[in-house]
Symmetry: C2
Subunit: 171 residues, 2 copies
DNA sequence: AAATTATGTCAGCGATGTTGACATAAATAT
DNA sequence: ATATTTATGTCAACATCGCTGACATAATTT
């Protein structure tokens, strides 16, 4: 049943990449992600907010009119988890809910002016950090960064991520 | 006070990278990191372990004889946080402590055989994922991935990460 | 002998995730 | 029309993993 060209890609991978390179890759992900999140984390700590609040603000700001179900799908959390994040954001006047026009069961999510301002304040240092890294690394490196991260996802996740990220090709 | 050549690098960055590219970069980090952690997360859930346990096992396995202070430094958490992770790992027979030879206040950390086996079981699918992505993306892309993540760190963090990752250059 | 260092531990708090159960309103299916 | 399904909200309980503050012990350094 196994065609010759099907010979284990795991074996081929092992042949070309030694363990220390893979370990280094994992450690880069750990240290890199920590750096990536540290700027907004500091701002979030002013209020009793965490990363989850930033993520919600980010994706609502990106797709105004997103439904609760849509946001749940993107974030990959339970509705109970989301509620604990969304409720304070609504109470604090950062997120607004409007009843769906075509489907009045839906609560469509929008950032208020304050929400938009806060989201930008959170994202600004993170984007500056990315911009600095992208510029110093150069366009080919950015394309490599993008392709490795995309290829690290499962097909399903990659499809979802692509749908969210959209055409905005990185390089 | 501002020299002409000091003209805001933020402005230059903004000139070359539009906002949608930076947003896409941030989203790639989010989705990519989620994919990166999902395999070990499933295994960790068998016991009452989380990512922090994996990280501790990883870095102890990488630098056997690491001191508690050394591990605290790498992980960037408080000793109270680490204790909650380390104590179960010791109780479960995955990590062993030995009194330091030169300084007998130190508790040097080692993986037991079981600990080594468990760490490998946790890391295997993660490394396979990385290997697949690296191979499909190609060596230049991997170098780009590495350089962008490194440049995303502050100088201090980059120095620390480089010290941990070591010579094992990625590409 | 005194101060500092490495480590451990107790107690409490906050953010973020989980499962399970139940409620309501609106849309859809029979 | 009635029944079912869907979208959302909410209550309760629990686990992980970060934090601060306080205190203790043993070993090293001053």
């Amino acid at each position: 049943m196994t065609a010759p060209e099907m010979s284990s890609s795991v074996a081929r991978d092992a042949a070309m990449l030694n363990e220390s390179m893979l370990r280094a890759g994992a450690e880069l992900m750990f240290f890199g992600y920590r750096s990536f999140t540290q700027d907004p984390d500091k701002i979030l700590a002013e209020r009793d907010y965490g990363r989850a609040h930033h993520r919600a603000l980010h994706f609502i700001g990106r797709q105004p009119g997103l439904s609760v179900a849509g946001l749940l799908d993107i974030l990959g959390v339970t509705k109970q988890s989301l509620a604990r994040v969304l409720k304070p954001l609504i109470d604090d006047g950062f997120v607004e809910q409007r009843v769906g026009e075509s489907d009045r069961r839906q609560r469509l999510l929008f950032l208020t002016e304050d929400g938009q301002a806060f989201e930008e304040r959170l994202s600004a240092p993170q984007r500056a950090r990315l911009a600095r890294a992208f510029n110093q690394a150069g366009p080919e490196a950015v394309e490599g960064f993008r392709s490795v991260l995309e290829l690290m996802m499962d097909d399903e996740q990659r499809a979802q991520a692509s749908a969210v990220i959209g055409e905005a090709r990185l390089p």
